[in-house]
Structures are given as structure tokens and as C-alpha cells.
């Protein structure tokens, strides 16, 4: 590519564009305008609104009221659901990625898993909820098969697709494919030399994982886990479709506040939204810090 320019006149290199420095920021103006109009403005509206109280005054009462009524349980449920679906998704997704990368499996399984993870991590929302209703709902295939073949009544065990545990099971469908996609490059980055060095020093595979591989991978694993947490925390469509909005979750609380002022206080609704943004912001910051730390080891 570089040889082609050798024939051009000598005037070319480093010639600045007309009036470059003063006007150069104009090139990114459309982007920032869009971001202001459709991200910053709405967010600012919610932010300001969260300080407006019902009697017209300004204060922090809405944030204090987050602990009242059904709001705190909704946040607790959201965190519970996100935490456990992230934890299980991270562990199983890691094992799955490690299995196809390090597990001596046929090579095509790796690309098959990667493509499928791309699909499954995007297969979320309404169709996913429906698919699980057909699987584990009252008339679902697995429910029926358990009852007819084994005489096992799934509902008698207390399991319900429409409970927290059921939601965790459904969320896992997009959680661990995402984990596979996020963690695979890090597992790839484990160098063969590290393993050989450990083996030369007499380490067992267990010692290698315990003392070398896992400490190196830990920031990536934690970071990916946090990403999964945020992924589940912001999800609305799947839970909405499963429950019609009746499961107390922070996202569902916001959507029902939007359709009709169920909290009887617009400002409180904005405070709930801000609470979600705060939790998401903390997790994204933690993710990028951990990501940066893991890159220092795994850079190739």
C-alpha cells in the first residue's frame, strides 16, 4: 500500500487541512449532537425530575423513599436475579469456553459454539420467554415428559417458571453464551509456555490452574461476570413477557410506572430509574477497570 504514494509529489506529507485546528472538532459534531439529544437530554430530564417532590419543592425525599413500599424488594429481586444468573452463567460459560478451547475436542466444535453463542446471546426477550413457556410451563414439553414418563410432578417440587429461580434459568440462556464470547479471547491468551514452564517445574494440572492460570484469568472472569450482571440487570422484555409485569423487578417497575403512574409520584419513578443507572454505572466502571488489568497480562 505504501509504495503507491511514493510517486506522488513531495508536497503531500503532513499538509494540514484548511483551517484544521480551530474547526477540526466540527467533524464530530453530528455524533455529539445526536448523543445530547437522545441520551443526555432524556437522562438529564430523569435526573432533574428525581429531585422534584410531589409538592413542587426540590429535595432528596424521592431518594429516601426508594426504601419504602415495593421499591426496595424490587431492587433486591433485580440484584438477586442478576447476581445468580451472572454467577452461574459465568461459571458454566467459562467451563464451556475452556472445554472447546483446551479440552481436546474436535476442532469444528469451537466455531460451532462461537456462532451459536452469537445467536443465543442475541436470542432474548419475547421469543426466549415463549420458548421456555413451551419447555417448562404448565403445558411445556419437559413438564409433560417428566409427568408422563417418570410420574414426576415438577410443580409439586415448588419450581415455577414464573418465580425468581425460573427467571434465573431463562436468563442463563443469554448469559452464558455471552460469557463464552467474552472470555474466549482470554482463554486463548493463556500461553503454552506458561503451562510448559509449570510442568517443567513439576506442577500438576491442578497446581497449574490454581497457581498460574486462574490468577491470570481472574480479572477477566470477574470483569465478564460483572458484564453479565449488568446484562441481566437492564433486561426487561423477557421478564415482562413471562409475568405480564407482575414479578417485582426494577425494570418492570419502571415500565409500569411509564404506562400508568403506579407509584403515584412521578419524581419517585425518576429516582428508581436513576437508581438503576447508578448500579449499571458502577458495574460498567468495575468491568472496564478489570478489563484493563487483564489486558496487561493477556496482550499478545
Amino acid at each position: 500500500m505504501s509504495s503507491a504514494e511514493q510517486t506522488t509529489p513531495v508536497t503531500a506529507p503532513k499538509r494540514p487541512a484548511r483551517t484544521a485546528s480551530t474547526w477540526s472538532w466540527l467533524g464530530v459534531l453530528p455524533f455529539f449532537l445526536w448523543a445530547v439529544m437522545f441520551i443526555a437530554l432524556p437522562a438529564a430530564f430523569l435526573f432533574v425530575g428525581s429531585f422534584l417532590l410531589r409538592d413542587g419543592s426540590v429535595g432528596l425525599q424521592n431518594y429516601a423513599d426508594l426504601t419504602t413500599g415495593a421499591i426496595l424488594p424490587a431492587f433486591a429481586n433485580s440484584i438477586y436475579l442478576s447476581f445468580f444468573s451472572a454467577l452461574i452463567g459465568a461459571i458454566f460459560g467459562f467451563l464451556l469456553a475452556a472445554a472447546v478451547i483446551l479440552g481436546n475436542l474436535p476442532r469444528f466444535m469451537r466455531s460451532a459454539l462461537m456462532t451459536f453463542s452469537g445467536v443465543a446471546s442475541n436470542f432474548a426477550g419475547v421469543p426466549l420467554a415463549l420458548a421456555f413457556v413451551f419447555t417448562l410451563g404448565n403445558l411445556g414439553l419437559v413438564t409433560k415428559m417428566l409427568a408422563e414418563t417418570f410420574g414426576f410432578n415438577l410443580r409439586a417440587t415448588g419450581f415455577s417458571l414464573y418465580s425468581m429461580e425460573g427467571l434465573i434459568l431463562v436468563y442463563l440462556y443469554f448469559q452464558f453464551p455471552l460469557m463464552v464470547l467474552v472470555i474466549a479471547p482470554s482463554i486463548d491468551g493463556l500461553r503454552r509456555e506458561w503451562r510448559e514452564a509449570a510442568e517443567n517445574l513439576g506442577a500438576t494440572p491442578y497446581q497449574f490452574w490454581r497457581k498460574v492460570a486462574l490468577p491470570i484469568l481472574m480479572p477477566s472472569i470477574l470483569g465478564a461476570g460483572i458484564l453479565l450482571f449488568g446484562n441481566a440487570f437492564g433486561a426487561q422484555a423477557t421478564a415482562f413477557q413471562l409475568s405480564g409485569g407482575t414479578i417485582p423487578l426494577a425494570t418492570l417497575m419502571i415500565s409500569s410506572q411509564m404506562s400508568g403512574d403506579v407509584l403515584f409520584n412521578p419524581g419517585l419513578g425518576y429516582a428508581v430509574a436513576m437508581g438503576m443507572v447508578a448500579i449499571m454505572a458502577v458495574s460498567i466502571v468495575a468491568y472496564s477497570v478489570l478489563q484493563r488489568r487483564s489486558e496487561s497480562w493477556l496482550r499478545r
Binding site: 432524556p42 437522562a43 419475547v126 413451551f134 419437559v142 426487561q236 422484555a237
Partner: protein, 299 residues
Amino acid sequence: MSGGGSAPPFGPLGVMRSWLRLSGSPRARRGSGAWWAWLVVILGILYFFVPLAATLEFSLRACAPPNQPCTAPDFSAYANTFDDPFFFSTLAFSFVVGLVTIVISLLIIVPTAYWVRLRVPRLRPVVEFVTLLPFVIPPVVLVFGLIRIYSRPPLLVTATNFGSVALLVAAYVVLSFPYMYRAVDAGLAAMDVRVLTEAAQSMGAGWRKILWSVIFPNLRTAALSGAFLTLAIVVGEFTIGNFLAPYGFGPYISLLGRDKIFEPAAVSLISFGLTWLAMIFLALVGRGRGSRVQVAGAR
């Protein structure tokens, strides 16, 4: 990068592998750890495919009451779906919205990413931060703010259908920013932006000409991968669409899920097939480049 084993594991799997002649990678490793790998993969396959199989089975049960088995697979759920004009109109709506979103997103992101690389690198952290904001602000919160601000007098946009759909597209463009920016920026990193620009300049090309005839053709692969991801997200999106302009495929499936019994199963499977198609195109387009992390939306 996966290591094929030097010795196949025991049992039928080992037989199958030697039959498929899949062993013998140069990177053979000691230790027969493969049994756990098989276990994990089989569990994963079960979890992946059982819901799909159940949905398929359910979609073929339209002949009888739901708890009665059919004597033969009944395809009337699919026939009804394809007879339903709303199936095609909502799908077409989502598809067009997706295409418009992609075009606007490219028109915004390509010049921005190019300009950041070439002229204002000090703005890079700011731009990256802004493209990450859709992860920080969940869709349900974003649409909450959009509705509150654009449905009252100073900025009354949602009064007309067109206004609502335009706002929907605007929101989807925001959702596409993280994927589009990463894809385009990776594409720019793979070429020498400065040399290409200077070469074009020295031949007398203006900025528009440079972007359109030099940069964009080199970005085709990157732009396509961002585009397919955006399409996969937009076509099935429910949360924002349902509140702003519920004429899309996501709200359609949701409504169907409440009104009908078997058709939702058929449509869910079709939706899965569409996602699959988009991802296969994505894989074809992105082949030969390093695997990039894709975080999806539309939960």
C-alpha cells in the same frame, strides 16, 4: 487454537472421533481431560436445544387441545402465521426501521471514528465513553426519558405517528452506537488512515470524496458486521418499540403470545431462525479477522 488430542478418550466418543479423523493436532497435550470437556459441552447442548425442540414440538401440536398428542405433525400454526398479514407487515416494519437505523448510524459513526483517529485523537476517550452510555442506561430507562421529554409541548414529537417512529429510529441508533463504533474503529485500525487520506488529498480529493471513495470501501467488512448486529438487535427489540411505536416484530410476538396458543411457538422459532441467519452472515463477513467481543441488547 483448540488442541486435538493425541489419544482419543475411551468409549463411543473415542470411536467417533477416530472415525471422524479429528485427532492428531500438532498441539497435542498430555492428560485425558477430555471427559469433563465432553460433559460440559453435552450439558450445554442440552440446555441450548431442549427449549428449541420443545418450541418446535409445541408448534406442531395445533391439531388438538394442548395436552393431547397429535397423531401427525400439524403445520397449521405455520400456515396461520403466514396467512396473518400482521406477521409480514410487522416484520417489514422492523426490517425497514433496522435498515434506516443502520444507515444513520453509519453516517454518524464512520466520519466520527475517522475524524477521531485522524484529527482529534484527544477526543477518543470522550467518544468511547459516549458510545458506552447505552450500556449504562438500560433501554427501559432510555425510553422512559425519551417519552417524558419528547411527548410534551416544547418538544412534542410523539403526537404524530411519523414522529414516534422517527424517535424510535433515533433510540435504535443510540443502541447501535457501541457495536457500530467498535466495528468501524477496528476496521480503521486495520488500515493506514493517514497515508490513505494524504494520498487522496494529494490527488485533489475533498473530504466527502475521501470518506466516500477511499475510507468507506475499505470499511465495508467492518461496517457490515456492525450492520448485521444492529439488525439482529432491532428486529426483535421489544422494550423501546413497545412504548414508542408498537408496530414492530417484537411487540407483535408479544401480543401473539397472549392471544394465541400455537402460533407464538411457530413465530418464536422463525424469529430464532432470523437471528441465526443474521449471525451466519456476521460470521461470514467477519471471517479472517480476530474474534471480537459482541455484547447484545434487546433483553
